[in-house]
Subunit: 399 residues, 3 copies
């Protein structure tokens, strides 16, 4: 996974444009994504698909024609959705178009301006101090005009038409944890799900954040409301930090119950801490059961939305652990059947070589509840409960 | 308000009699109260309206004809509902008719005997020690005979026929906090409600405690059960102490929810701590949603039911704060509409200049719940929630 | 009760056999038990009634013909359900048939092997150290062949056909607390209930643990499901330790509510700590509301399932206290009627000499709830609530 992240890292992505197309095209080497284009100007609930933005170069030259800020060194140097500009500006005017972080003076901040047309550059605070010249030549070689918004979609049919939604966002440029990690891990998760025989159907989407989720929902929400039993907004899964979970808005959702019972020792958040596309999926009128399972959460880790969120901040180990944890959560959901004891009273576990506290506790609560409830009441970890259900079912003791 | 309290303070009120009539007549200078007389002997559920009591003078003279206890100095000196008596009694017999408080030796206690016919005097414990004479001349110049129970009532119609009950009691003589404060503040609250355009109808009653509430309910309870959505028994609102709340019996009543969300940092009580007319309003078979919002609670403050509960114990500031808090609670109730987001997903708050954490949090929970629920889920103070709802509604984002 | 326990103590009981018959025959001197025989081989849900086991003698002789282990000294010396054996065995082979407890080296452990045919002896660890001989003569003079399982049953009809189940087990040999205490106390409880006029019908059964409960349920569970409103699995009630309660599986059962409100200061357990026949009564498909009220719980006290659980471990005082507490719990259940105030508002308690905080609190919650709920809401101990309900009902204030 880390190698895929390395390959995708340099591409300049945004909520629209060729960076996203290039990214999805690389992902198609791994999984059979269906790529969809939605024209600029398309209405989506209260929103409109914006013009498409593409950029080839951007720089600021001093009077000696030295590139003092250079897009080619980092695509974070230019404010996302900067309109084209070319010409000399005074030092003062340049200053009003620069973005920097005094509390992280060595890092380039990540700034965008999707809906207010402007241009700008981002740079480390320490570099800002060198810019005391009288005038500068500014160039943003971008285009911002009607085009389309691009997303990827993969439906993996299962035994049941009931669905699990996996959503990740592709709109961030060279930022590793937020959210190349999500893009990469979701790709490998999809690969694994393609290999398996699944009980549920999986709807896996690679979209730009916010506007992409809104556009996707505006086309599919009735179907998704009818089918979706659980789902995750996948982001920030590349580090080796503790797991974090932002629950879905309805506390008793299957996603929440499955995640709580599977991911132990996690950092606990509330729905009020939401920040990614669970905002759209859980919104009133949509009401999908979607949470977000991460390692350290966006906003919480120091490198967030700066050039420090780079390839050295994530690791293959972190990605693998996250993938394994997501698979565990999906196992919990896939195995969350209702189980009922076949015989009233305890069965004679002894003559089957199954007499122990675990099987007894399971049988004592196999009253037609779902496995999450049985495991909770019996005090069993979810993986133990899954294994126990399998044995007891094979022995004809539960149905 | 304090001036009105000063004017009402000297009047000798009881559960019946001219003191109540005089009090209501003064209140009619402020608000258009309807004054109702209920004849003695009228049945009200398990009770009967008692004879009417009036008193013009009462005193105890020593053998030298000095007034050693004098009703004209404080109407608390005579036990409420003392029957007429005139003549010499021995020091020992007098003693058995005196009431005093050893733990508050400088205060006159407030004592009544509505349903056991007797007579008595109240005095400070320190004064009791002076009464070592052999005999005394006792005079209670009262009448206790069929008459009527008097109460005041004001209905302020609102847009809706659904009602909010505001009940305060007029039966206490010269006691400032309990309950001139309630009488005065309810009068000014009624004035303010008369000035406003209200969503709900207000039923405002000035009644003697217990028997008055029972009599009033016996005549109106079916109508009140059908209409009342919230209500308060108003008492002890004249000091500057912390707010206290005795909740209605059903924990989830609108009155409780509105009060809890509006009055922060209050002293919390339980329905088991009830003591005023919420006892009747919440009783089984009546079941109205009535709580009691006070400053320091009766029984809790040291001056309670003694001559120390006088005009120096209350203040204009305390009364004004209580009035403001009651208005806030009523604002909460009046504004507790259900709000539903117009668009699925987040609306584009940015292009309306409304993009902030508060509007986002509000929209995230505008799922058709009432405002109290939305504010609770969004973690917003109630006044913020009311203001936010107004703006979002004007912008067509919630209905 | 202690004398009855002394008389029953020496009898060698098991899940079947003459020891049980002899025990039930002695109990029939006290209460009119109906004794039922269920033939070996009878199916009961997932189980089958096993062969009947009887034993007359068992011993181990050394080479000098000395009885080094002797059933006649304690019936715990032989493993329950040991099949017949007679002959010389090597010291090594004997060793593989011996059971001992290194952590309780002076006590004989209690061991059974109902469903795996074997033979064995139990002895104190200190005695094991003496057995260094080359060979031993082993004799188990038992029979293990088709016969029947024996249980006792007593139905005491009440005003209502609704039933309370009292179940205790008779299958343990010379162990005093577990469970002669239960057998004896249940007998005296039944005597007391026979003397009283009861609201509910009592189903009182003396059965072998597990297999007996399963057999009994397989014959009666539909009827019991229709009728049973509460019940207890009675065991370990002979000591003077604190009361312990294992609740029924459904937390809000009447049995749980009644026990919690009656038995104060108890050790609290969870349904996961279950261990006796509540396992069967509460199992999915049976779902009876049966808990288990004990003194110190099985598994918890040190003497459990060893020869130290003898007559010196229990006392008449302990048995009497347990009997009294069970009667209190049954009083709570028998008196748990629904009460409704006759008059809306508070009744005039004063003129009936009933004006106090207890009656006021009761009346304030007499809204048609059952007495357990009223007592809980009014903060009254259950015995106070029962007495108060009686007075208020007599005065015509509640129905």
């Amino acid at each position: 996974m880390y190698n895929l992240a390395k390959r995708l890292f340099p591409i300049c992505r945004s909520i629209t444009g060729n960076g996203v197309r290039q990214t999805l095209s690389i992902l198609r080497e791994y999984i059979p994504l269906n790529v969809v284009e939605v024209p600029s100007g398309t209405r989506a609930f209260d929103w409109t698909v914006p013009d498409e933005w593409n950029i080839t170069d951007a720089y600021v030259n001093d009077e000696y024609n030295h590139r003092v800020i250079d897009f080619r060194r980092s695509n974070l140097h230019v404010v996302g959705y900067s309109h084209p500009v070319k010409g000399w500006v005074s030092g003062g005017e340049l200053m009003s178009h620069l973005h920097t972080l005094t509390d992280k003076p060595t890092a380039i901040p990540y700034v965008t301006s999707y809906y207010n047309r402007t241009w700008g550059f981002c740079l480390p605070f320490y570099d800002l101090k060198e810019l005391y010249g009288r005038r500068y030549y500014v160039c943003v070689d971008s285009t911002l005009r009607p085009g389309s918004l691009t997303y990827g979609e993969l439906i993996i049919p299962g035994e049941s038409r009931a669905e699990i939604l996996l959503s990740t966002y592709t709109c961030h440029p060279s930022l590793a944890n937020d959210n190349l990690s999500g893009v990469v891990m979701t790709t490998f998760l999809a690969q694994e799900l393609l290999r398996r025989k699944n009980r549920y159907t999986y709807r896996i989407i690679f979209i730009p954040e916010t506007i992409g989720a809104i556009v996707y929902l505006s086309r599919h929400y009735r179907e998704m409301q009818a089918k979706t039993i659980a789902g995750y907004a996948i982001t920030c899964v590349g580090t080796e930090g503790r797991f974090s979970y932002v629950p879905s808005r309805h506390p008793e959702s299957l996603t929440n119950r499955a995640t709580y019972s599977t991911v132990r020792g996690r950092d606990c958040y509330d729905y009020s801490d939401r920040g990614s596309d669970e905002r759209q999926y859980c919104s009133p009128g949509i009401d999908l059961p979607v949470g977000s399972l991460m390692r350290q959460k966006y906003h919480v880790y120091r490198q967030y939305h700066t050039s420090d969120d780079n390839l050295s901040f994530i690791s293959e180990k972190g990605l693998q652990e996250s993938l394994a944890m997501y698979l565990s959560c999906l196992d919990t959901i896939e195995n969350n059947r209702e189980w009922t004891a076949v015989h009233p009273c305890e069965p004679q576990l002894g003559r089957r070589g199954l007499y122990n506290k675990i099987t007894q506790d399971f049988m004592a609560h196999a009253d037609g509840s779902d496995l999450l409830t049985i495991a909770g009441n019996a005090g069993l970890p979810m993986d133990t409960a899954i294994a126990t259900a399998k044995v007891l079912h094979e022995q004809g003791l539960i149905i």
